[in-house]
């Protein structure tokens, strides 16, 4: 379970990146955060990962305060970034092996790694290929494999489908559905309103650091989510 209570972040230059964010993502729930660039989506993820300290409020992972006990909290979270960066001189399997061990999975075999690669749709001939020869989409798949193999209860995704071709993005969404069935709590920050509509159980729209609206599946399916989103963005322009 992921929880933000009055979470705020003001950077040293005075910019209020996140203003009193309150959200709760239950087990087996996908929460999509929509918003323009600089709306505070990535700041939210960075606060959950304790990469930055909050100015106010608390971020909790499985009821553990990430600022008080970051190492314990990080045992229960996986992360996939917009642009997965891995060790170029290592093969996909070696990268997965290293990060699996860091995630506490120390007794996995080569076949276990291959199974995860097959699950995310990575081609067989790429398993032992060096990462520097991989396309962005392939790297995203390895990044997702790392998140899956950790088997954490919570997953943070920062624009994971950016730059993926439609087929790869659709495969990605299928994996997210499987993860939801496994009762994972998933927070996905994205610009892709159509993907959000397709996969989310709840959608939140962020604007200038504030979570201005939250709609559950029934609500955003009955309303026109695109219109709601664009109205908020238009206000921003005006």
């Amino acid at each position: 379970m992921l929880e933000a209570i009055n979470l705020s972040k003001r950077y040293e230059d005075g910019n209020l990146a996140l203003d009193c964010l309150n959200l709760k993502i239950e087990e087996g729930e996908i929460f999509c955060l929509l918003g323009a660039n600089g709306a505070g989506k990535t700041t939210t993820i960075n606060l959950f990962l304790n990469f930055i300290e909050p100015t106010n409020g608390t971020a909790k992972i499985n009821a553990i305060d990430v600022t008080k006990d970051p190492l314990e909290a990080k045992k229960h979270v996986s992360y996939v970034s917009e642009n997965v960066m891995l060790y170029g001189n290592f093969s996909a399997r070696q990268n997965l092996d290293f990060f699996a061990k860091l995630g506490g999975k120390t007794n996995l075999t080569k076949e276990d790694y291959y199974m995860v690669f097959r699950r995310v749709g990575l081609q067989e001939d790429a398993f032992e290929k060096k990462l520097k020869k991989f396309s962005k989409g392939m790297r995203q798949k390895v990044g997702l494999s790392i998140a899956i193999i950790k088997d954490a209860a919570n997953i943070l995704l920062d624009e994971p489908t950016a730059g993926l071709d439609p087929k790869a993005a659709a495969e990605f969404m299928n994996i997210l559905r499987e993860l939801r069935e496994q009762k994972k709590s998933i927070l996905m920050c994205t610009h892709d309103i159509f993907r959000a509509k397709e996969i989310a159980d709840k959608v939140g729209i962020m604007k200038e650091g504030r979570l201005v609206i939250v709609k559950n599946k029934a609500e955003f399916l009955s309303y026109n989510l695109e219109e709601i989103y664009l109205n908020y963005m238009r206000e921003e322009v005006l």
Binding site: F51, G88, N89, F99, L102
Partner: protein, 169 residues
């Protein structure tokens, strides 16, 4: 956790072009140095077999050490032979016993000790200059830090791994 960071660091470095280049540099310089020192050692052996023809002189010669192939020590600064005349109490060619050639002190013999002091200090620097900022620039540090591993462990693991790599060199 520390073990995996050390393993990864060693594995990553060993297959990197930089490490292969440094390894080659070490092999070449050490081979060159050993060859030169061996030649000097042979010369010293030949000098050692020199005998004075003057019956009034006693020749005292320092025997070249086998290990001088690797480390020259102070032998370059010290005289190798001392000739005593039977009629004199003082050695004839002892001068001060120490060669004060400043040029030689500025450019000492390229023995193994010199290589360890100079070359290996440089190698340590080349190996370690981007330990953390390299990971940060590559973006991998962020992914490591999403796991339950402290920054201290990462730095310590990298330090140990690079010490091991330097020892291998």
């Amino acid at each position: 956790m520390l073990k995996y960071i050390i393993q990864k660091e060693i594995q990553e470095n060993v297959i990197s072009l930089r490490y292969i280049f440094l390894l080659m540099l070490c092999v070449v310089t050490i081979s060159f140095s050993s060859y030169e020192m061996y030649k000097q050692y042979i010369n010293n052996i030949e000098e050692h077999s020199y005998k004075t023809t003057d019956p009034n002189e006693i020749l005292i010669k320092k025997q070249p050490s086998v290990l001088s192939v690797y480390i020259s020590g102070t032998k370059e600064l010290m005289d190798k032979t001392f000739i005593f005349n039977r009629d004199m109490y003082e050695p004839m060619e002892l001068s001060s016993g120490i060669n004060l050639n400043i040029f030689r002190q500025l450019f000492p013999t390229l023995d193994f000790l010199y290589l360890v002091k100079m070359l290996f200090s440089l190698l340590a620097l080349i190996l370690s200059f981007d330990l953390i900022c390299g990971e940060k620039n590559e973006g991998t540090l962020k992914l490591i830090l999403t796991n339950s591993v402290s920054k201290g462990k990462i730095i310590f693991g990298k330090l140990i791994a690079n010490y091991i790599l330097l020892i291998i060199l």
